[in-house]
Symmetry: D2
Subunit: 335 residues, 4 copies
């Protein structure tokens, strides 16, 4: 059994981690932390888990957590992870960080998040379909939700050097903005609506650029525009990929199928997927259409699972030499 700690258990990614790990046959949750809620039963906040888990939120020190756990998930805001990860690693535990702190180079991080990085160190970018070296890592930087959908939608073409430039137009459910009520999440503001935001400069863009340029150093402009749509969960990424040459549907579809042939959580489809195909699951479904020198790739994920906590557990599986799908094959909720 793997002993697991979750730092930051009150938000949506912590909540989903708890749920997933409860169902995991090889993991046991030892500690769930929350400074604010210390002492409170976990199910007072995560009501749906009533009767399924008997833990209370705690607030131990990182070193205490490190000594009790084989792996720790840090589900904290960016800037907070770098304060605790050094101590966790020093304590001998392994870490999957769900914040943004270790995803980028120091320079890119500081430019994007407008703050100094106090713990620059190497981490593996935790998109396991592209980074098998996750298995050996002590510190995995779990990707952002948008980058997961965007990178997976373009990686096969990028790895072949076929893309001239790329425009990612993403549509996300509001749970990506977290559990705290806000103007944007206020029901009358979101229902029957679509909102574009951070239109040319969302913080997730550098992750997308970093990973796609890693696959094709000469890939041209990469643009990203996110929207929130009236949905709780899910991200649809519409990747408008302009190729150097004319596109060929069959060839490209086969390229995608080959690229993801042994990746159990990416399902390349012969038609266009939608959010109901993946809601509540760790799948990323992909479909595409071609026209002239453009390929439009549609990828769909559950932002809280494949876009966050499910991917984190997938990384854990690889880090502990378990089957990649262990505890993660729950089918989507559809309808």
């Amino acid at each position: 059994m793997i002993d697991v700690g979750i730092i930051g258990g009150s938000g949506y990614t912590g909540r989903e981690l708890i749920k997933l790990l409860l169902q995991h046959p090889e993991a046991t949750i030892r500690i769930v932390t929350s400074r604010r809620l210390s002492g409170i039963p976990v199910t007072d906040i995560h009501r749906h888990l009533y009767g399924l888990v008997d833990l209370r939120f705690e607030d131990p020190s990182p070193s205490e957590i490190a000594s009790a756990c084989d792996i720790v998930f840090t589900a904290v805001p960016h800037g907070a992870a770098m304060e605790i990860v050094p101590e966790l690693l020093a304590g001998g535990t392994r870490v999957v960080d769900l914040s943004a702190d270790y995803r980028l180079t120091q320079q890119a991080f500081e430019a994007t998040y407008k703050r100094m990085h106090t713990d620059p160190r190497d981490a593996v970018f935790g998109l396991p379909e592209l980074h098998p070296e996750v298995a050996k890592a002590d510190l995995v930087a779990n990707p952002g939700c948008y980058p997961t959908g965007a990178i997976l939608s373009a990686a096969p073409l990028a790895s072949e050097g076929l893309i001239k430039y790329a425009i990612f137009d993403s549509k996300s459910g509001i749970s990506g903005a977290g559990a705290e009520p806000s103007e944007t999440s206020h029901y009358p503001n979101l229902a029957e609506n679509v909102r574009a935001y951070n239109i040319t400069a969302h913080r997730h863009l550098p992750e997308i650029i970093q990973e796609l340029r890693r696959l094709d150093r000469s890939l041209g402009n990469i643009y990203f525009t996110p929207h929130v749509v009236p949905a709780i969960r899910g991200i649809v990424t519409t990747a408008h990929l302009i190729l150097h040459d004319e596109s060929d549907y069959d060839a490209i579809l086969n390229l995608y199928k080959d690229f993801y042939a042994n990746k159990p959580f990416v399902r390349v489809r012969d038609d266009i997927p939608n959010l109901a195909d993946v809601r509540g699951s760790n799948f990323c479904d992909i479909g595409l259409a071609c026209g002239g020198n453009r390929v439009v790739v549609i990828s769909v994920i559950d932002n809280l699972i494949k876009g966050a906590s499910g991917q984190a557990v997938q990384n854990m599986n690889l880090m502990f030499d378990l089957p990649e799908t262990c505890g993660l094959l729950m089918p989507p909720l559809s309808p």
Copy 2:
């Protein structure tokens, strides 16, 4: 032209008043107040009205407002209206109060809202279908949204003394809870959900009891349970009315049609109405079904219009001897 003031112009009822009065051929908005937003253009907050109104929020004293306006709408929280209404009336203006402050007897108010009433005085309960004396009033207490739907659904039967007891089960869109984000209005908490709240003791119950007992002093128990549903606007009231005797559909339908024969905003239907029939309008649509000694009456309103600001303008029309429908016959938005 009627010169109008709106005290409390930043919330949803103020917002809707501004919109309705802009379209009103006999009224001109002179003042829209907001302490917090004083100096800011109204359309910075009410973005949809951009180009349609050129006012700024102000913060004048009640007596200044009174001297500038023929009528003032107080769209403020309960407890706040009683602080300003005396001065407004003393200044010679007439008032439609959209708060709860003047709807109940002093005793009922204090028991319900758990606070002293500092300005007990007579006001007319502003449900114009039941209170034609609105026309002569200087102070009209505009009803709550739930009471509007509930009272109209039961009044014809109550006025004939036919109801033994009544259970009102209401389903409301979330705009009734206001423009401020909250746990309840957080999209992930409301979408795909229904929430019962204040199940046996909602503050609107005393209004319902007051008005129905006025029609039938011997009417038995009156129960009320509200729910929020995933909708922005609208209240569906399911009135389970248990009669003293067997119900007869045709007779009761005719009773309703006669009762509301000259009431232009109540449309009694031969079938069951739904929110799309009234969304965006000042109509209250009513339909019913019978079984044994039970009548189930379904009433539907737009909570922000017939349940608040539209009704307030309807009251204004009557107070100024205008046609009841003046400026208020905008058709519903359906679909």
Copy 3:
């Protein structure tokens, strides 16, 4: 391993059965039938299960199914089950029927569904919390979705003879109406709306009456009014229960907790549950409020799981002497 057949695998209840049984550690799906789709891969229709199941729809005779399966779920329209159940039982298999055909007495069935019953025979009403004799049954009549929520909300009080009469006001997601598009399920007609229907005479009422009168022969009038709300899944039942005597919150809550003490899928709560607490799970959560001689009980279920296919699997577990929760403890999807 239990060999399972599903007759009628293309609709929502069949779809959910497939999903649940795929996750069940003691069951194997042998046959999924669909006359219309015979030969087609199951995942062409149930897209979300792509990669998780490799079956095709078939169309064998009931006797072939019976000989291949230890248990058969009939997820067919009412009237269709009685055409095949006799042959299935004659073939030696056990049956959980998800249609309405065996839930009522012959007389009640014929009065309600306006058709002759061609196979009147004894079946156990498959609400396992009230009918432990499910374990021994060869034919289990799985309850309707509304009756599941309504009966569970009132059973403890009914079993003590405390209820004078009962009004069930239910709010359902639209998936209860099935996978076929209709006027009611047309998005512009349902979004931002609530629709009452079959207001005094829904077909599920006789089931509710049958089960509650079984617990308390002298229980008075039982009323039921359903509504559809803008949600895919879930039923909230607001049970307005008028008692013979004054209600006492603590006593009644304890009564409920005791009544459901060993029922793993009923969670009695200290507050009011909502659909997010149970979505995607087999739980029925219950909370209540008291006022005068009225108790308002709120029960929430996922209509496709505890209200249909999950309950059917729960029945299977009992019929095959497995733990009641076997394969059914998937946590709810919240948010």
Copy 4:
């Protein structure tokens, strides 16, 4: 008074035309046709208008309609308009056609809609912001909903020859697909979802190309991908415009403000608009963001009003020398 006929009054565009013309001070609806519903009161279908209109659907011949009406709106499927428009024009009435039949050149029409055009003739493309010659036209081809949002979002930059190529990524409410229930409009399929469709080859693309190339013959590739989102009304168009040169926010915003300075229904904003800003109104709101050589323009419209029937009435106003805004300044419904 202008005597108006509506051919095809049962669908969503006919429905919205009826509503708008009822409120129009200079127009009177003389005839509303529907072959299928002839003889039925209009309010049996358009329930929300109950009490506001007293017409019945009729089925007269085009020449009868032409002789009774000064203008006829043809709200019929593509292919049907060309069967009746010749007779209407021959009868001396003027026509605004809401179908696709007269928007494109004969060649483009036949290539796009895969059918012969039986009535090739000149018509004015009824986007009044770009086509003031609407005023003199006898036949106006009302634009498609997507083209309205897309063309208006790019026209100012196109008219200056600044765009290298353009990718329009549009998100539409489902009412654009009409009043008939379908798989796509089935609530469980659309709620909590986003669906891309006709990804590289939607029929509205040729309209967009025609109009933008008219403004800039050398504009490069123009791509268009539509999506349906869980909303009844509205289209958000995210126009990713790649310029020949570096973009400058202030200069481009001023260009837009100047371009639309005298266009009362286009509101250029200093920030990013959303659907609530225009729902229920004839406005097209536009905002933009710049980054590198990319401009992202967001335009929002109510697809049934500015995207269809409102624009048709706007055209009528111009054709009859009325103020462009006559009867069309109803404010948006927000929230």
